[in-house]
């Protein structure tokens, strides 16, 4: 049997921890958020472009591979996501025009970042520049991949594994959904497809409390390894614990937009910037405007510089929180703006999600007319499940909003859990992550 180089793009945990973005000063949480955000863009744009799911799957894998070689600080996540879905549509033989991709990304950006909805003039300089950027980024991706863009997906193995294990039919859809979600993580560049497939099969079996044979261990028949399977479960549990990913501008060359309005707004606000290094703070301010106003009031009409300093301190506080992974030690007076900021943020997130769900529902309704087609039925079932998941997440966040006191208690609990988990064996850790997942679904 002749071995080929297909399916060789894998990294060690150390290589991932020392990613190009990390070397540019982007912390792990931000990179994770941007990876999820980019994958969300690829997935949503693929739906709007009416692409088969294989294209979005391939696009997300190429996206992760690219950012293992290049930094988010030097290649804007929106540009790369657009070029990845465009390139994947070619590779999976469902090519789309650059015009279609640009229009879809422009519209998604206006919705997600609350820009005024505008018509994209196909004869404007902006459009021509966007097209050139799309092609240029595509060439960068191809060059970094060495033109080797073969992608093997865990989905291929799931049906065979479940059939061999003779599991109940409901596991199939669950494992399938988990495999789709795994594409938002770096599992695809850490483990072979068979390992990820075993991991999602295992997670689905635990979800439905279906026992799998352990003597001999079932995963050995499928090229899986226990440690890898456990890690898949942990990574998915972590993914589900995160809030919906939002865009974070980190590019050194300034922010990139598909839209014109944002560029104009930014150019207008540029003269107002007094300190140079406060530019990121300003960008951050633009999201929760209410919070900014309140912060101003609470600081007793402090000057802009003071506000910026305060926000910088908040950022430092957040970063130190991430580093120490402990509770915030900020005084109660400063906790207040944090809480309010989060509240507004969550509210906006929910509004965005509602809009997304409405759009999905409309599309589902359109597709319902073609009920004769099996694929449509399968697709509807799948989409329904996604909608359920979003509802779960929304409810979870609503509960958080309702009970702030409870949240502080939960934070204490989380802290305790994290301490305990460090001492547990791998088996216990699996149990922990499973419990976490159950709680998440229960909400």
């Amino acid at each position: 049997m002749i071995y080929t180089a297909i399916d060789t793009f894998y990294l060690t945990d150390e290589q991932l921890a020392n990613s190009p973005s990390r070397k540019d000063g982007i912390d792990e949480a931000t990179e994770t958020t941007l990876r999820i955000y980019g994958c969300d863009l690829i997935q949503e744009s693929g739906i709007l472009l009416r692409l088969p799911q294989a294209v979005m799957a391939t696009g997300q894998v190429l996206f992760h591979r690219f950012y293992c070689k290049k930094s988010f600080a030097r290649f804007n996540v929106k540009k790369v996501a657009a070029s990845c879905v465009w390139l994947a549509s070619k590779l999976e033989e469902n090519p789309r025009k650059a015009r279609q991709v640009i229009i879809v990304f422009h519209r998604m950006e206006c919705r997600r970042e609350s820009f005024p909805m505008e018509h994209l003039d196909l004869y404007s300089k902006k459009y021509v520049d966007l097209k050139m950027e799309l092609s240029r980024t595509e060439r960068h991706i191809l060059k970094e991949m060495g033109f080797i863009c073969h992608v093997e997906h865990p989905h291929k193995f799931i049906s065979n594994y479940l059939a061999t294990l003779e599991t109940p039919p409901e596991l199939r859809q669950e494992a399938w959904n988990l495999a789709n979600d795994s594409l938002r993580t770096t599992l695809c560049v850490r483990f072979k497809s068979e390992v990820v497939a075993c991991g999602v099969v295992y997670a689905a079996a635990r979800r439905f409390q279906v026992p799998l044979p352990e003597n001999p261990p079932w995963w050995k028949a499928f090229d899986g390894e226990k440690s890898g399977i456990d890690e898949v479960g942990r990574v998915l549990a972590h993914l589900y614990s995160l809030p919906k990913a939002q865009y974070i501008p980190v590019c050194k060359d300034g922010d990139f937009t598909f839209s014109n309005k944002s560029s104009e707004t930014k150019s207008q606000s540029t003269p107002k910037d007094v300190p140079q290094n406060s530019s990121p703070a300003d960008t951050d301010n633009s999201v929760p405007k209410g919070a900014q106003g309140e912060a101003n009031t609470e600081s007793n009409g402090g000057k802009g510089a003071m506000v910026n300093v305060a926000i910088d301190k908040l950022k430092d506080s957040k970063r130190s929180d991430d580093e120490s992974k402990g509770m915030s030690t900020e005084g109660e007076a400063r906790d207040e703006p944090i809480l309010k900021s989060k509240a507004d943020h969550i509210g906006e997130t929910r509004r965005n999600r509602d809009r997304d769900r409405d759009r999905e529902r409309d599309r589902g309704r359109e597709r319902d007319r073609d009920r004769d087609r099996d694929r449509t039925k399968s697709r509807d079932r799948d989409r329904g499940r996604d909608s359920d998941k979003e509802r779960e997440r929304e409810e979870a966040e609503r509960d958080k909003l309702k009970d702030r006191g409870h949240r502080s208690r939960e934070r204490a609990k989380d802290s305790g859990h994290s301490e305990k988990s460090k001492r547990h064996s791998s088996h216990d850790r699996v149990s922990y992550s499973s419990r976490e997942k159950d709680r998440h679904r229960h909400h």
């Binding site: 049997m1 002749i2 071995y3 080929t4 180089a5 297909i6 399916d7 060789t8 793009f9 894998y10 060690t12 290589q15 088969p52 799911q53 294989a54 799957a57 293992c68 465009w86 070619k90 590779l91 999976e92 033989e93 090519p95 025009k97 650059a98 097209k131 799309l134 092609s135 595509e138 060439r139 191809l142 060059k143 970094e144 060495g146 033109f147 080797i148 863009c149 073969h150 997906h153 989905h155 291929k156 049906s159 065979n160 059939a163 199939r172 399938w176 495999a179 789709n180 850490r190 483990f191 072979k192 068979e194 090229d223 390894e225 440690s227 890898g228 099996d374 399968s378 697709r379 799948d382």
Partner: protein, 461 residues
């Protein structure tokens, strides 16, 4: 214009590693140039240019696919992709291949039109042997070529690899290991004279057996110096059914029957067009009459098994290599053009004409004042690359290699991908967190697995 153009091209960094000699062909995707590498030892390179589509839709999917596949495979009988250059100025893509002086089309034509004599047994056997070696390698890596024909089978000129066969033009090739969609979604494949009957009858699922049918046609053509099934193609529709081509096949091999080809009934056009097919009657059908081989000879046995109607019974490349034909004298050799036996006469095949007035942009200029030596040593004129003999009919819309395909000359380490700014910038990441079973084992398991369960088709990932 010429001077300006030359100056502009000399600015591209990657071009400076080559001495451009001229144009040697063109096709729907772009142009092909002949160049030599600078430095010692210098070697000949064929540069295939993919032009940007008018829509400005970035890198051509055909180019990406060809590069992807060629980057994955390494075999002496498969064309070697030496380098890839991306020109940032006009976003065009240049593929550099080791150059091959000859191809089977030219060799056959030379024997038919110039020598008026058949190709000697050693050369036929060696060409076929090496072609099957390369094809067996491709098929064992789940790769179907889907455009095998004489002009895509290259043979190296004088040098270290003299007489070595190279399979070229992977624009239609696919990896068919568990494809997400039927291969027939790619549309019509294989040039019509070499197209397998299951394709002509509209098979939705087909296998590497379509390549073996094409090899059978090539084998017969090497023996007789003319195409075996020379049907006229109806191009107006995307309908895979081609009555005339099937007619040419049935005239030689007789009607296929359900008894011999059980899956025939499930082919769409066998049902729909059965009246057209059955309406013709064929007397004196017999492959041996066309190729003038004794039905008892090993060569005839091999050929007839390659041209088996039922794709599941058709000989595979690996099986063909074990056939008795390759075990009897004369034994096949690495240099297909120079027989080992002293008695045989060596044939000197002509070299390709080079159009030295065309630059990388494809613009025809006045010849530069400095003399550029063409490889052939002669140049008929601006139309030197034109052919007087009509070619096999190309399928509309398919990306095609030019009449002169490209292939390897001189072994060389595979250079990294590069563009003008960073010629050697690419390196492969290869690291796995934990030790795992060897890839070979997994690949073997894949090979042995039956077709994926039908339920998978109804599910979208």
């Amino acid at each position: 214009m010429g001077d300006g153009s030359g100056n502009r091209w000399s600015r591209a960094e990657w071009v400076q590693q080559y001495d451009l000699l001229g144009k040697i062909g063109e096709g729907t995707y772009g142009l092909v140039f002949l160049a030599r590498t600078k430095g010692t030892p210098s070697k000949s390179i064929a540069i295939k240019k993919f032009k940007q589509s008018k829509d400005g839709d970035g890198v051509s999917p055909t180019a990406i696919r060809e590069i992807m596949l060629l980057r994955e495979i390494t075999h002496e009988n498969v064309v070697k992709l030496v380098n890839v250059h991306i020109n940032h100025a006009d976003m065009s893509l240049y593929l550099a291949f080791d150059y091959a002086e000859h191809d089977l089309y030219e060799i056959i034509r030379h024997h038919r039109d110039k020598l008026n004599h058949s190709i000697n047994q050693y050369t036929v056997k060696s060409l076929l042997w090496q072609l099957l070696n390369g094809l067996s390698y491709l098929h064992s890596n789940w790769m179907i070529h889907r455009d095998l024909k004489p002009s895509n089978i290259l043979v190296m000129g004088e040098g270290e690899e003299h007489g070595v066969v190279k399979i070229a033009d992977f624009g239609l090739a696919r990896i068919y290991q568990a494809p997400l969609k039927p291969l027939s979604d790619n549309g019509v494949v294989v040039t019509i004279w070499y197209r397998a009957p299951e394709l002509l009858l509209g098979a939705k699922h087909y296998t590497s057996a379509v390549d073996m049918w094409a090899v059978g046609c090539i084998f017969a053509e090497l023996l007789t110096l003319k195409p075996l099934f020379q049907g006229a193609e109806v191009k107006a529709t995307s309908n895979p059914f081609q009555l005339d081509q099937l007619d040419k096949i049935f005239k030689v091999l007789g009607h296929p029957t359900l008894e011999k080809w059980p899956s025939l009934a499930s082919l769409p056009h066998w049902q729909q067009d059965v009246q057209h097919i059955q309406g013709h009657k064929y007397d004196n059908a017999g492959l041996y009459n066309v190729v003038h081989l004794s039905p008892k000879s090993p060569a005839y046995d091999l050929l007839s098994k390659m041209l088996e109607y039922d794709p599941r019974k058709r000989l595979t490349a690996a099986q063909a290599l074990e056939h008795e034909y390759f075990k009897i004298e004369p034994l096949p050799g690495r240099n297909a053009l120079v027989p080992c036996q002293l008695g045989e006469k060596i044939v000197n095949y002509p070299t390709r004409p080079v159009d030295t007035t065309t630059d990388l942009e494809g613009t025809t200029n006045l010849p530069p004042s400095q003399t550029v030596n063409a490889v052939s040593g002669s140049m008929p004129g601006p139309h030197g690359s034109n052919r007087s003999v009509p070619r096999p009919v190309n399928v509309v819309g398919m990306q095609r290699m030019p009449p002169q395909a490209m292939a390897a000359y001189n072994l060389s380490s595979q250079a990294a991908m590069g563009d003008g700014m960073n010629p050697g910038g690419i390196s492969k990441q290869r690291g796995v967190p934990q030790a795992h079973q060897p890839q070979q084992l997994r690949r073997k398991e894949q090979m042995g697995m039956p077709g994926y369960p039908a339920q998978q088709k109804s599910r979208r990932i």
